[in-house]
């Protein structure tokens, strides 16, 4: 009796975890269970699938590079300096996290489309984004940057401030302190942010569709290709989905393994 009384709460916790795990894993598992290995290989042999996969990898890689190069110093500034409106600015930068993808696409069109705020300027500079591969990159940066910004901010905030001060008293300026102390010390958190952002970019669908369209070889990334097939070729869509899940999982896993403490010593 008393034993049952003691155990009811742990039992509840386990039950909750079991339900969550079953519900979240089942659809992912189903993709693989419903796809025969032969079908999977066939879909990789398909030219349009290979094109979509190549386009997804190239555009997300460029987008993530932009996000990391611009986002990391921006996050460092936000987490190490106190200034007026800092909290407001940090919140505004996170806004794309909660925007529906369709709204993000409309927003990008309103800002950077031919009739958008900066449309005329971009046109004069000879830059075309809409319905172009460059447009895909823009959409990916927009939706994935907040993930990295947020993770990088908390990673930098967790770095002991006295390490940064110690670096200064040892003769290193602000830039060297950033490069030699802040970034290496925050590396696991930064890598987690990069992985999140990359995962989000790989799965990006709505904003890309609205801003860049879905043209094979130009803007049709894997999620768009899946949607394109879904009505006519469910098995093909399923196989492509399996490929996307495998690629995303492999990317996330390798980033996490790399960022585990000690694994990046060579870079330090």
């Amino acid at each position: 009796m008393s034993r049952a009384r003691r155990l009811w709460f742990p039992a509840l916790l386990f039950a909750a975890l079991a339900v969550a795990a079953a519900f979240l894993v089942l659809p992912v598992l189903a993709i693989f269970l419903q796809t025969s290995p032969g079908r999977l290989l066939d879909s990789l042999g398909d030219a349009s699938a290979r094109e979509a996969l190549r386009l997804s990898l190239v555009t997300t890689a460029i987008a993530i590079a932009v996000v990391v190069v611009v986002g990391t110093p921006a996050a460092y500034l936000l987490s190490t300096r106190r200034f007026r409106g800092r909290a407001l600015l940090a919140t505004l930068l996170e806004l794309p996290l909660v925007l529906p993808p369709a709204v993000a696409g409309i927003g990008l069109l309103a800002a950077l489309g031919p009739q958008g705020l900066l449309g005329g300027l971009l046109d004069e500079l000879g830059i075309a984004l809409v319905l172009q591969t460059a447009g895909v990159v823009v959409a990916l940066v927009f939706v994935s940057a907040p993930f990295h910004l947020r993770a990088a901010q908390s990673a930098f905030a967790a770095v002991d401030r006295r390490w940064l001060e110690a670096s200064r008293t040892l003769g290193a300026g602000e830039a060297r302190t950033f490069a030699r102390v802040a970034v290496p010390a925050a590396l696991p958190g930064l890598a987690a942010g990069l992985a999140l952002a990359w995962g989000r970019a790989l799965g990006e669908f709505g904003a890309t569709l609205m801003f860049a369209g879905s043209f094979r070889g130009i803007t049709q990334t894997v999620p768009l290709a899946i949607y394109d097939r879904f009505a006519t070729d469910f098995d093909g869509a399923l196989a492509l989905s399996a490929v996307l899940v495998a690629v995303s999982a492999a990317l996330l896993l390798s980033v996490k393994l790399l960022a585990r403490d000690g694994a990046l010593d060579g870079l330090r």
Binding site: D160, R168, T169, L170, A172, G173, R180
Partner: protein, 395 residues
């Protein structure tokens, strides 16, 4: 090493050890800055604390800035290192001006060359021990850095740890690595923030002695911050007591203990501080009669110090002897107060006895007297000490 340089600095001959970094600016500083030393005047507001201090540390000397937490000790160090810019003030070191608010000069921390030992040592957790030490050796060619770092670690007896990460080191090891790191770039001044507080009681004694030896050999000015008077007395050539953002008294530790300027300083030096009113002999008359103070809560104390009105009376625990109640008066101790034992605590080979007069008083006695007097909480004793060992300060 460099005893000639040290002698030169002592004689005020010049920037001695400080030469080498940015010594070119030496001529710009007036005679007021003094050769080689660190001189600062700071005034600033940090939260509720109004800091207003002036201090000078000659080259090769160590001043211990001592005071309770919240007194502004760390703020002073941060301002000196350039991690904080005070509202007003001027800092000169070895002939260079680090800060002059009137002239709009405020050197960045990395241009001051100020060694800083942080309270928890702040070793870089992502770098090995030798890379921590080599961090400040950027001027050296890459190949020479490891050798130089190892030589420094050797000097502190921790060369064996060179390839370890700071995370796995003991407190004492970290402290040595941090000292090696702070001294590696040949700093022009050394700032130490509570250098022993992160150590456990066992390693503290040894670390303190080693640090005292290091400070004695150091050729640059050193400023050490501590909340512990014994530590300040051991490590500082001079002690400045900081309270509420101001230096309330400075002198050698012996001077402070013997002649505290206030009840606060007396308390800080480890004396028991009692409060009372001067009843007679306030101005210490020509006959040399002692000042008589009626303690708040009962009892009477005599002191050779002058005083009037409301005063703080202080006496060091080692000056107080204990006798059985009703013991005949004898000797020169004119203060004999009945007290009740509240606590008996062995500290090393001495025993600290907490007493209630009813005001709290501490006596430090031998284990033999504890046994002889059968001291235990609740026991009644006579607390006995000399008028000459009794300090009177205004309150």
């Amino acid at each position: 090493m460099g005893s000639a340089e040290r002698a030169g600095a002592d004689a005020g001959a010049g920037a001695g050890a400080a030469a080498g970094r940015t010594g070119a600016a030496a001529s710009a500083a007036g005679p007021a800055t003094g050769g080689g030393g660190l001189r600062a005047r700071l005034r600033t507001q940090v939260g509720a604390l109004a800091l207003d201090i002036a201090l000078a540390v000659p080259a090769g000397r160590c001043v211990a800035l001592a005071g309770p937490s919240g007194a502004g000790k760390t703020t002073v160090l941060r301002a000196l290192a350039g991690l904080l810019t005070p509202a007003e003030g001027r800092i000169d070191c070895g002939g260079d001006t680090w800060l002059d608010r009137d002239r709009g000069i405020a050197l960045a921390p990395e241009r001051r060359g100020c060694g800083y030992l942080f309270q928890d040592y702040a070793l870089f957790g992502h770098l090995s021990v030798w890379r921590n030490v080599a961090y400040g050796l950027r001027e050296l060619p890459r190949r020479e850095r490891r050798a130089r770092a190892l030589a420094l670690l050797e000097r502190f007896g921790v060369a064996a740890l060179a390839d370890r990460r700071p995370g796995g080191l003991s407190g004492g090891e970290r402290q040595r690595v941090a000292l090696a790191r702070a001294l590696a770039p040949r700093p022009r001044a050394l700032l130490l923030d509570e250098p022993l507080s992160a150590l456990d009681a066992r390693s503290r004694g040894r670390a303190a002695r080693e640090l005292a030896r290091l400070l004695a050999e150091l050729e640059v000015p050193a400023l050490l911050v501590t909340h512990d008077f014994a530590e300040a007395a051991l490590l500082g050539d001079e002690v400045a007591v900081l309270d509420g953002g101001r230096i309330v008294q400075r002198g050698t530790a012996a001077e402070l203990a013997a002649r505290p300027a206030s009840g606060f300083v007396a308390d800080f030096t480890g004396a028991a501080v009692l409060t009372g009113q001067v009843r007679a002999g306030g101005a210490q008359d020509a006959a040399g009669a002692p000042t008589v103070i009626a303690l708040d809560g009962g009892g009477e104390v005599r002191s050779t110090d002058a005083g009037e009105g409301a005063v703080a009376v202080s006496v060091h625990p080692w000056e107080v002897a204990l006798e059985p109640p009703g013991a005949p008066a004898g000797g020169s101790a004119s203060n004999r107060l009945a007290a009740e034992v509240v606590s008996v605590t062995a500290v090393g080979n001495r025993v600290r006895v907490g007493l209630a007069l009813p005001q709290p008083l501490t006596a430090e006695v031998t284990e033999a007297s504890v046994a002889r007097l059968e001291l235990a909480p609740g026991a009644r004793v006579l607390a006995v000490w000399k008028a000459a060992a009794t300090r009177v300060t205004p309150r």
